[in-house]
């Protein structure tokens, strides 16, 4: 479990290689993210940013190299994984139960300004609101490492600010962030890993 104010472990990526469909996407990728640190993955479309994130999340096998991280991770990919007929509140509660408790859900909803939408079925949400819900799920997971795939895609400026604040709070508490980005997402001091 994530301990607020506690110290997480570092994330250590060593000589990582990824092969998709017989094609080598990248190889020899090494990086280290310390507690409270952030790593931005940048590069052209198809360079393997999303694949690297999915690899870190355990969704893809590595062709070579190792990923060492002792803590828990939360992943927000392109797909939002919200069931259309369920309310937003029920969805976040379900995932929080799997993550070990719903204590962080109200705070996560407030952080992404979703509290007024808890009783709305997910099919009624706009794509930006779904995106915010996926970020709220990451916040509510209480994980040490956040893996975010283009988290600001589809977000308005106010929501992007909320995300930046949430990331700052997460890092201040010793959390780690790895994000695939195009442009600035409010992580000015983060290390940059260029792919492709």
């Amino acid at each position: 479990m994530f301990k607020p104010g506690g110290v997480s472990e570092a994330l250590e990526i060593t000589d990582l290689a990824c092969r998709r469909g017989g094609r080598l996407l990248f190889e020899g990728v090494s990086a280290r993210v310390n507690p409270g640190g952030a790593l931005l993955l940048v590069g052209p479309n198809g360079a393997g940013k999303s694949s690297l994130l999915r690899l870190l999340a355990g969704l893809l096998p590595a062709a070579d190299g190792t990923v060492a991280f002792a803590g828990r991770q939360a992943f927000a990919g392109h797909e939002v994984a919200l069931k259309p007929r369920q309310t937003l509140g029920a969805e976040l509660a379900h995932w929080a139960r799997l993550d070990g408790g719903q204590a962080l859900v109200p705070g996560a909803l407030a952080a992404m300004n979703l509290a007024p939408l808890v009783d709305v079925p997910c099919r009624m949400l706009s794509s930006g609101q779904k995106r915010r819900a996926a970020i709220a799920r990451v916040i509510a997971a209480g994980a040490d490492l956040w893996l975010l795939d283009e988290p600001t895609a589809g977000l308005d400026a106010a929501s992007a600010d909320l995300l930046a604040q949430a990331m700052a709070i997460h890092r201040a508490a010793g959390g780690l962030i790895v994000a695939a980005v195009h442009g600035d997402i409010g992580l000015g001091d983060a290390a940059v890993l260029r792919l492709g």
Partner: protein, 208 residues
Amino acid sequence: MIWALFRRDVLMIARSPVLWLPVLFFVLVAALFPFAVGPDARLLARIAPGIIWVAALLASLLPVETLLAPDVEDGTIDQLIARGIPLEIICTGRIAAHWLGFAVPLLMALPVAGVLLGLNADTATRLGLALLVGTPALASLAVVAAALTAGLKGGGALAGLIVLPLALPVLIFGVGSDVAGALRLLAAASLVALAVGPFAAAAALRPD
């Protein structure tokens, strides 16, 4: 955790608009046969177990496109894997929920089908017992087929082609369950399908 997953799966199936489709289909097939075969009660009673088993097998396949494909497409499976939950556990929960969703209503509809086909109480009871033992295998095979065809267009038809040959042992021992020992062989076939199902489905879902 497995309990939370199972509860969620059952909830999703219970809220699904296709919940009543398998059992309606099952009763409809049972109602159609007397019209198609003619009102010969002895003949109907003789072929009734076969009709009911084939109807149950096809009913188990009706919701196959909604069993896993939506979860693969909307990223739910990704979220579960990212939480370190083994795919085998996910598939086990899904098999149990699918069984609850299609087999239990079907068993409750069995008396109706039995009356329509002119079954006597003894045969209907034995058939109910055989269905109770055999339907978990059908649920397991349906989830394996759902995993294999998730992400394919028109996966439902392909799923049928995958399941039907594999379901033959269950069908044979299920229909012949009045013969001594057949129920045990049915149970054995069902256990094998249940034991292999979660691993086969998980292997099919594992991202490459």
